[in-house]
């Protein structure tokens, strides 16, 4: 599996997710600086967590206008895989690859804690090895993870079964408990929880590892 991790100024989970990928695939992903204008040929593009451009204006708003994002759009439109984690999810909604928006948490506070996620869509390359209704333990750490979509948009994405993960105990006020969302065809996934922080669970493999491993097996 060939993987690119996009690095914006202010990304801060880029190293963590690159190491998670290396751990699963045995191969270092390429790190792509946000100013990159030449094409990179990979299977999966990851938009990592962090505070790209300091979250100024709105989280993800400035990153969505980086030159590298044109390639990410092309890659996604050609059916390539895109995974946006936390800040990366915010970038995906800002650039329109995913519907809706991520608002400040209902409590107006940053929340860092373990959460339980229910898998609600398995027809994506990210979740193909999970079963519907299965619970995953993957932590969140964000200030703006309160997913919102207008009523008709929301019913559209529910009808299309685009919701991939829901919170068991909603930590941030997200509408319909949405924690992770895909596009209709399932090749683009945005999620607030951090799978790269769930590589181990005690002495066994964590659910984050399983997610990346699923991806690798789907692509191989």
């Amino acid at each position: 599996m060939r993987v690119a991790v996009i690095v914006f100024p202010g990304s801060n989970c880029d190293r963590d997710v690159a190491e998670a990928i290396a751990q699963v695939t045995g191969k270092q992903p390429i790190m792509v600086w946000h100013r990159e204008t030449t094409f990179f040929d990979v299977d999966l593009v990851i938009l990592p967590g962090g505070f790209a451009y300091g979250d100024y204006l709105r989280p993800g708003a400035m990153a969505a206008r980086s030159s590298v994002m044109r390639h990410v759009l092309d890659h996604a439109k050609a059916g390539g895989l895109v995974l946006g984690i936390c800040n990366g999810f915010q970038v995906l909604t800002e650039i329109g690859l995913l519907p809706g928006a991520l608002l400040p948490n209902a409590g107006m506070k940053f929340i860092c804690k373990p959460v339980k996620l229910k898998v609600t869509r398995t027809s994506t390359p990210f979740t193909g090895s999970f079963t519907k209704g299965q619970y995953l333990d993957i932590p969140v750490a964000h200030h703006d993870g309160n997913y919102f979509a207008q009523k008709d948009e929301l019913s559209r994405l529910e009808d299309n079964e685009q919701v991939v993960f829901r919170y068991e105990n909603n930590p941030n006020g997200s509408i319909n408990d949405i924690a992770g969302l895909s596009n209709v065809s399932g090749n683009v996934l945005g999620m607030m929880p951090h799978p790269e922080r769930a590589m181990v669970h005690g002495k066994t493999r964590g659910d984050g590892y399983k997610l990346f491993n699923t991806l690798m097996e789907m692509i191989r």
Partner: protein
């Protein structure tokens, strides 16, 4: 009036220099300074920058050791952790600004301490903070807590360095002056450390980072004076932080460091461009000439005075090797940071500033650094505090007392705070505030080693007896590291006191320092960095003396990491160390009996060492399932912590010859509570006997209740109360927090 004019007597007074200091300055210069020069001298001679009241006493700290690479005097201390790795750390106060503007004050405190660490070539890997607030009922406390916590999180979370631990106390003594002490730990290679000495003449001085604005002018002077009722008017002196710039600055500086282009590097902290340039010149034995027109500026028409005294954040000064300017600039340009050559080193030994075609300052370096005033201020020895006799206190229901202690503001769960901190970014956090471990544990990236970190001070002990209290702060830090499976190596500290011009305050300072020095010496736990914050007073009332200790230890193998959350039903509880039932200045005395100011427990350092050695062996030989240091609230509170963390019940023994309150809540030092699997007991008992360590049966792990004699409470009920206090308190301003 032009800044080149001779200052008026009123201006001299406004700069915080005493008449004697001003005279001495004129004598050293051979003339009167102009206004620019007065501004520069006044910050360099401020308490905050010069340590003029504390320096002669700080010299009492042991600062060397087998593992010490760099002791006090640089931006941070450095220890060798083997395999070519070094750990760089320091703690610093941001008390005065945090009281005036809690969010920015705390945020820039975090930013400043991170810069001290990455300046030396280290990537920051952990943040901690020690916070002291006024009493919960004080009308300001709630919003100060909310602002400080949001500021710490807002900065650290964005930069992407985990906030892994800390402490938080409430006391009426901090009503007018809160304490915000931030600690940063970084990781470097031992052969690639960067220092601040600007060696060599004719080298380029590079300014990088944020532009200079008018914020924070005279922050260092503010931090060297007391507060009064007009303190709010000082808000413009508080700096404004930008973590996004800090993040880019870290990445850019580490990238530049890898090139080998740097001769010296220093962050612009307190007193900004002034102190950074003077310190670099002084350490390098050179002069410095700066062209102020080249300084990147955020605002129009800034004067030389404003530029030199600005404390705008996220700025660095770098001395480059000749010929490397272009390559160095490119790195900062890539990270979209301002960068400019603003001057060069000279052989004059003077600080020369040129602005708009004029020389606006021409000062010799030495009077600003080495020859700055140094005082042996008069100090008064504390009267010995009275002893508190446990027999004089009434008998009470022990479980009821335990519940009251566990929900008092100092002891109640701080979940509301630490859930706002990203504790796991960088993916190396093994134990954080949520983890039921006496120290925070952060893995050395890519290895099977870790650092353990702990922040400690018991201000009520220091208040009653500064010498004992100072000793205890160091001993507790050492004990916390032992109890988490680490070998304690060295400390940083942050000494927060009132006005040193008062002999009784100076007495607290001197005696606390001597107590700390004694403990550091005896425990081979040297001081490698630190910070002094004086004048923490409002309207003449000083804070409780608070010498915070930030201890760092090494965990050699990750399976040595232990906490107090692993107790299992069937385990036996054993108490390590001698119990006399010491209640003077205990949490019990304060919370239950309303008594304070009595003699705190003695700290016997050889006993501390011996008991610690035993516990370390017990951990390394896997003879225990859970370990907890005994501190606030004694045996019963340690047991309750363990029960809550392990989600198990406990039956606690009472003592035949001691009142319950003395046995259960006494705060004798050098003690630990162990949860021992029954099949390991023999082996552990033999080890205790061999090491001459008091090892006493204290109870067993059983059921769902904490039971003492006939009294009991469900662990689940205790948890509800313990978790509830801070949330309820804080949500009064936030309404429904939506969680």
């Amino acid at each position: 009036m032009s800044d080149l004019s001779t200052p008026t007597p009123q201006q001299i007074a406004e700069h915080g220099l005493s008449d004697e200091e001003y005279e001495s300055l004129c004598e050293q210069l051979g003339r009167e300074p102009n206004l620019n020069e007065l501004g520069i001298c006044s910050v360099m001679w401020s308490e905050h920058c010069s340590y003029k009241s504390s320096r002669i006493h700080l010299a009492k700290f042991p600062t060397t050791g087998k593992r010490v690479i760099c002791g006090p005097g640089e931006n941070a201390g450095i220890i060798d952790i083997g395999d070519g790795d070094a750990v760089v750390f320091k703690m610093e106060s941001h008390n005065h600004p945090s009281f005036i503007e809690p969010y920015q004050g705390a945020a820039t405190g975090v930013g400043g301490i991170m810069r001290d660490v990455f300046t030396m070539g280290a990537r920051p890997i952990a943040l901690l903070n020690a916070l002291r607030f006024g009493e919960p009922d004080n009308p300001k406390t709630r919003s100060l807590v909310a602002g400080v916590v949001a500021g710490i999180g807002g900065y650290g979370n964005c930069v992407g360095v985990p906030t892994v631990g800390g402490e938080m106390n409430f006391d009426p003594g901090y009503n007018g002056n809160i304490l915000v002490n931030a600690m940063c730990v970084g990781l470097a290679r031992a052969d690639s450390i960067f220092y601040s000495a600007a060696k060599g003449v004719g080298n380029t001085i590079l300014y990088v980072g944020a532009r200079t604005g008018r914020d924070g002018i005279h922050g260092a002077t503010m931090a060297s004076a007391e507060f009064d009722d007009d303190t709010e008017e000082k808000r413009p002196r508080v700096q404004v932080g930008d973590p996004f710039t800090e993040k880019r600055l870290i990445e850019a500086c580490l990238e530049l460091m890898a090139t080998g282009n740097i001769i010296a590097i220093q962050d612009m902290g307190a007193a900004g461009l002034t102190s950074s340039s003077i310190e670099m010149a002084d350490k390098g034995g050179v002069g410095i000439e700066i062209d102020l027109d080249m300084v990147p500026q955020r605002e129009d028409n800034m004067t030389a005075y404003e530029m030199m005294l600005s404390e705008s954040q996220e700025r660095m000064l770098i001395i480059l090797k000749p010929g490397t300017e272009t390559q160095s600039r490119q790195i900062f340009t890539k990270w979209e940071l301002d960068v400019d050559v603003i001057g060069r080193t000279t052989d004059t030994g003077r600080l020369v500033l040129n602005h708009k075609g004029e020389t606006v300052c021409n000062l010799p370096i030495a009077p600003l650094s080495d020859l700055a005033p140094k005082y042996d201020r008069p100090w008064k020895k504390q009267e010995p505090a009275p002893e508190l006799n446990a027999e004089d206190l009434p008998q009470r229901d022990p479980v009821d007392a335990l519940c009251r202690l566990m929900v008092c503001p100092d002891m109640a769960s701080k979940r509301w705070v630490w859930e706002q901190y990203d504790r796991h970014v960088m993916n190396d956090t093994l134990a954080d505030s949520a983890s039921s471990c006496d120290g925070a544990i952060v893995r050395i990236h890519g290895t099977d080693k870790a650092v353990a970190i702990s922040s400690d001070c018991t201000p009520r002990y220091v208040q009653a007896d500064a010498y004992r209290g100072g000793k205890q702060a160091v001993a507790e830090s050492w004990r916390n590291l032992i109890a988490s499976g680490a070998k304690p190596i060295a400390i940083t500290n942050c000494l927060n006191f009132g006005n040193p011009e008062k002999p009784e305050i100076m007495g607290q300072f001197v005696q606390a320092v001597e107590g700390m020095a004694k403990a550091c010496d005896k425990l081979s736990f040297p001081v490698v960095s630190g910070n002094v914050s004086l004048y923490n007073e409002t309207n003449g009332k000083a804070i409780p003396p608070t010498p915070t200790v930030g201890g760092v230890g090494i965990v050699k193998a990750l399976d040595h990491v232990i906490g107090f959350g692993g107790a299992e039903v069937g385990d036996l509880l054993y108490l390590v160390g001698e119990t006399s039932g010491w209640l003077g200045s205990s949490l019990y005395a304060r919370e239950i009996e309303g008594l304070s100011g009595h003699m705190p427990p003695p700290v016997k350092l050889s006993v501390e060492q011996n008991n610690g050695k035993f516990v370390k062996k017990a951990i390394q030989q896997s003879l225990v399932r859970a370990v907890h240091d005994l501190s606030d609230g004694g045996l019963a509170c340690a047991a309750a912590d363990m029960a809550l963390a392990s989600d198990v019940g406990m039956v606690l023994e009472t003592h035949d010859e001691m009142p319950n309150h003395a046995w259960l809540f006494g705060e004798d030092q050098a003690r630990y509570l162990l949860a021992v699997p029954s099949h390991k007991l023999n082996q552990l008992q033999r080890l205790a006997y061999k090491q001459h360590v008091p090892f006493v049966f204290a109870g067993e792990v059983v059921g769902d209740d904490i039971k003492i004699g006939a009294a009991r409470i469900k662990v689940a009920d205790l948890r509800k109360k313990w978790e509830g206090w801070l949330v309820k308190y804080m949500e009064n301003i936030h309404g429904n927090a939506g969680e």
